[in-house]
Symmetry: C6
Subunit: 266 residues, 6 copies
């Protein structure tokens, strides 16, 4: 398939590669056809930036519910891009800076570094947290927001190209903030949608020694539905704790059924 085909041409990277590996602890599991479509679309934008001289900057927004795998997929596209300069910007990278000014300077410096390379790719992870969004009082850092929005649209100097991949689990917030219009393209990243996809995940990771079918049935009985709407990250981390509990299967079924009940699909 597309994903595995691409994996074979994955180049050796420099220092930043471990950074990307860090956000892919469980790799990319191809539990539905949507996964390779996302990667394919990402690679088309990589190619456009590489080859069309009139477009010096392009920005793409990956959006979807919490835990759906946005950060991992952006990192995967970055790994596959083969660009000489790749950098991941996360809320954690800003947390050590003392105030908005220092954070703004850091972002500005980062883009300036990117401009020096002929081909650069920046992953801007979790925009709503980068701008310190808090729904109470609709608070956010206006100065970081404005810096980001302006930098998203600023082309690097002649002879240089920049691709920006950003992620968010709060697209409607970004729309209210008028940030989405600053992106050239958008890619939706859905959660695991139904028990079929969940089964595919459990099968591929070899959970419960392969006896996952009973689990799927138990969840169906508990939730009386085949909808799931839980992110891949939640599934995989719940599995880790489940393994250590007294009764792994029951714990997993209980936790995931609880998640499904709490956040029903719409």
């Amino acid at each position: 398939d597309f994903l595995h085909a691409l994996d074979e041409v994955k180049p050796a990277f420099g220092t930043d590669d471990s950074e990307l590996e860090d956000v892919l602890p469980f790799g990319i599991i191809e539990y539905s056809k949507g996964i390779s479509h996302i990667l394919k679309d990402g690679m088309l934008y990589v190619k456009t930036v590489k080859e069309q001289p009139n477009l010096r900057v392009m920005s793409v927004l990956l959006h979807g519910p919490r835990s759906s795998g946005k950060t991992a997929l952006a990192a995967k596209i970055a790994q596959l891009s083969d660009f000489p300069f790749i950098k991941l910007i996360t809320p954690a990278s800003l947390v050590g800076y003392r105030d908005e000014l220092a954070k703004k300077d850091y972002l500005h410096k980062l883009f300036t570094d990117a401009y020096k390379s002929p081909l650069s790719l920046l992953v801007i992870d979790n925009i709503e947290r980068l701008i310190d969004w808090v729904p109470v009082g609709a608070r956010f850092s206006g100065s970081i927001l404005n810096t980001l929005v302006t930098l998203l649209q600023t082309p690097p100097p002649k002879g240089h190209r920049l691709l920006i991949l950003a992620t968010t689990s709060q697209r409607s917030v970004l729309e209210q903030l008028d940030v989405t219009t600053a992106f050239d393209n958008q890619i939706p990243v859905p959660a695991i949608q139904d028990l079929g996809e969940l089964g595919a995940v459990l099968a591929q990771v070899g959970a419960f020694d392969g006896n996952y079918r009973r689990i799927i049935e138990d969840i169906q009985q508990t939730t009386r539905s085949s909808d799931v709407n839980v992110g891949i990250k939640t599934i995989l981390t719940t599995l880790e704790t489940a393994k250590l509990s007294e009764s792994p299967e029951d714990w997993f079924v209980e936790q995931i059924s609880g998640q499904i009940a709490r956040y029903p699909s719409v």
Copy 2:
């Protein structure tokens, strides 16, 4: 029972232990089965962090009404964890710092210290007060909130693990602030629910020279209900003042009945 079984394996601790002892002046009284369930759940998360390499950070929120024993239970789990680095962060630890910046730096430093140990446990006590929440005008320190939320989700460097236990008596506030979604797990800590549990407390602490049954009856007659919904801390401190009053039994019944009337269970 589970709690006492665990107590026997309680390890000797270093400097931070007196800090934990300080918030356990009355120890942990097992007045209902819920208490050992809370400790058991806590220990499962301790184990997951210790043993699953793919999860470098995990965060758990203990929430419940005022005085229900959240801080004491988090401290108990920390004592039982046997982790080499344990630290308790309370509103009082921040009060001496002059401004938000200094407080943010302190928090950042504390997490950085934790990252140095292979296994660390941080108790973040009373989140709503750490972020200086005031309901009038929905005021709070956005910068401390954002620092905490980001640090909750930031993994320590490779080879290091971190478990975060946080407490709050204002879960609905944290939900509005979109903080609860940053936690991997939650543990509810209820107040003393009925006169049966209250009797168990009085029995175990040997209050009123064991003649607590009359007290329970008096409260039932005064409040015309067997509901209690008062936190264990309030019960125990009221007992202390009652002992010194001219008529300890009457004073205790009067005070506790007043509490029950003021905050009815829902």
Copy 3:
């Protein structure tokens, strides 16, 4: 009675005593049984802090309408407590500090001083003004509020005890600010309630050469009610001006009747 009995054991004090005397220009007049109840309750909390080792800090809120005698009563309890460290914190003690930071530092320093004594008592007078509360726009100093609330609940180091007596004439404001829940106990201080109590005051201070009965009747006729709801402070200061006016009795009746009309009891 209780009050006079206690007065006899009043100890000799150090430097801070004149501070307390200053807010008691007219002493404590026992115009109703409620007065000695308030002092008795206060002394029970004094005793609890002195004698129960598990409670290192305790806080009590005296609340009531303007001029009802809150500050004087808190000062009286402090005088009677016989604690080696007593300090009165008023809005005037903060007014000379330049900004919120300096005020916060002053408060912090004051509590730190208190922690050094084995037994300390702090009177925090007029909380709503200490936090610069203004009803228009619900403005207040969040940082002073948060400092106070945290300090109210912070125990001194082992072997040290602290009793905090605070006063307010805006309890409903403090409730909105979620401050009242930070107190362990509350004591209501009512205004002078009816003409009987007013007569008791006039009798005890020997006003109008003892001919106060006509005054009471005149006020009753003017207001057509025996309700009063005016604070003891207003009564005593109005008396002082009245004495100098051309017709003292008439002036007093006119002023007090005006007060009664303006703020009817509810």
Copy 4:
């Protein structure tokens, strides 16, 4: 009458006297009995502060519509008080200070100076402007407001006395700001109420060579009412411009009638 009787005992003053004279360019005209009542009340408070040792501080608020003579009357009482320390604080005295902090310091310094004299009187003119009140958005300087309110209630050291006379034309604003309760007493200063009082003013200043009766009639015809509700200051300054116009009587009638129409009495 009372006013003239007092004038004869007017003492010789020091440096501050010209300051007081400056706000009395037209002196005090006794156009109604209310004027001497105001001065009499003011002098009773002067006497109380002078002679009653238990009251170290007393504050009085003069309030009334714009131009009604509040500043002039406060200055007159100050002149008549014979106190060794008198100071007038106006918005203009604060305008040169750079920020709220400097203004706060100035006020604090001023009160501290007053505390040094055994008997002091401060006129705090136009409180709403001193606190920079703007109705749009209900803006004001919270820190100046809080400084003033606290200082109003802070007694000078033992052996010292302080009388504070404040003025405002926005009493309802001060009530919303909870400032009025900080005053011990209030004195209303009404505008000129009817054409009778207006005639008395014109007569006493010898306007229009004594032919003021036609003016009164013209105004009555124009406004079809004998109500006036215009401040004494507006009357006197309009007279000054009128004198220089081509047709003084017509100009005066036109302007004053316009004023009456614009702000009808309620």
Copy 5:
């Protein structure tokens, strides 16, 4: 007429005169009787300040719709006043100062300079922009507003006089801000009201080689009304561009008709 009569006595001025000339690029055209009334009123206030010793400061507000000639008329009155100190304060004079504090200092300095001259006149142009008024969120510089309002009412030292002429096109905003009450007098400056007045303007400037009658008719036909409600400044600048267009008459009719349609008279 009055205006021309005055022009003949126009004195030679010093440095500030070019400043005044600059805001009068097209001079003052007397297109209606209202114009000389405005100048006459202005000169009466000039005379009052010059000759009445009891009034050391007087302030006048010229208000009217955008482009109606307020600045030009205030400058004309200033030119005609023959005062030794005249200064024009515009938003542009403040734009170079870095913050509110620097602007406040500049204003304070300017008034202090004015106080040094025995007779001074200040033109404060476009108050709403001087205070940085923005309707969204009702934002403005409170500190500049308060400085201006206080300075408007502060008399210079004895022996000195000050006349202040201010302009605004947002009188209703100033009324909400409670600024208008700080002025002693007000002068309305209307826009060009009908086609008769417009014709007078075109005639006096010799536009379209005197063939302006066809223009008036064309506008009447286009707008189907003889109302105009467009400011003199708009008329005169539109004429300048029209002259350079391919078809001056058509362009002028089109533009002015558009203006009339956009802002109909009420």
Copy 6:
């Protein structure tokens, strides 16, 4: 046609020319008669500033939907103006400055530079982003807004002229902020309106080897309308990505139809 005629007289420029070229990567395509009208209007204002001495400053606002070509057209007019001083101010030029003060200084400096040349032209691009407008909470930089509005209306010194071309895609926001009234003239820049204009674009750029007619038909069938309402910039950049996709025609039709559906014309 007008555009091409003008192009021939395009002068050789200095350093700033590449700046202008940069925002014209695809040049100006004359896909409708409106394009040359916009350029003609622009040139009339250029001429007025050049030749009419009474108008030292003139400002024009180009407004229209996103991507409609506003920046490119303003740059084109600037290129054609033949002015010795031309400068383009974009959000990106401000992003490196640390705070509002530095940005304000930069703007002030820029205008001051412009004032030194006898004839200057400033392009102020994307006003809403220059003032950091965010719709949530209607946030913006008041100080940059006020600086811009004042500078728009400030004439350069005698003998100097300034033309300001500004662009915005948020005219209604600017109207709420009362900015539009500060402009002397406005030029609307519409999006591509119908499939006829879209066809003209595709024809002129030689897209799809000239076989664009099928594309137009496909879009018509997909959207069931001949309306377009998509900006020229979106059309041209989508073409660039389409060229690299597996099936260029389908991709282009899909993307543009999506755009048309998302933002229907009104």
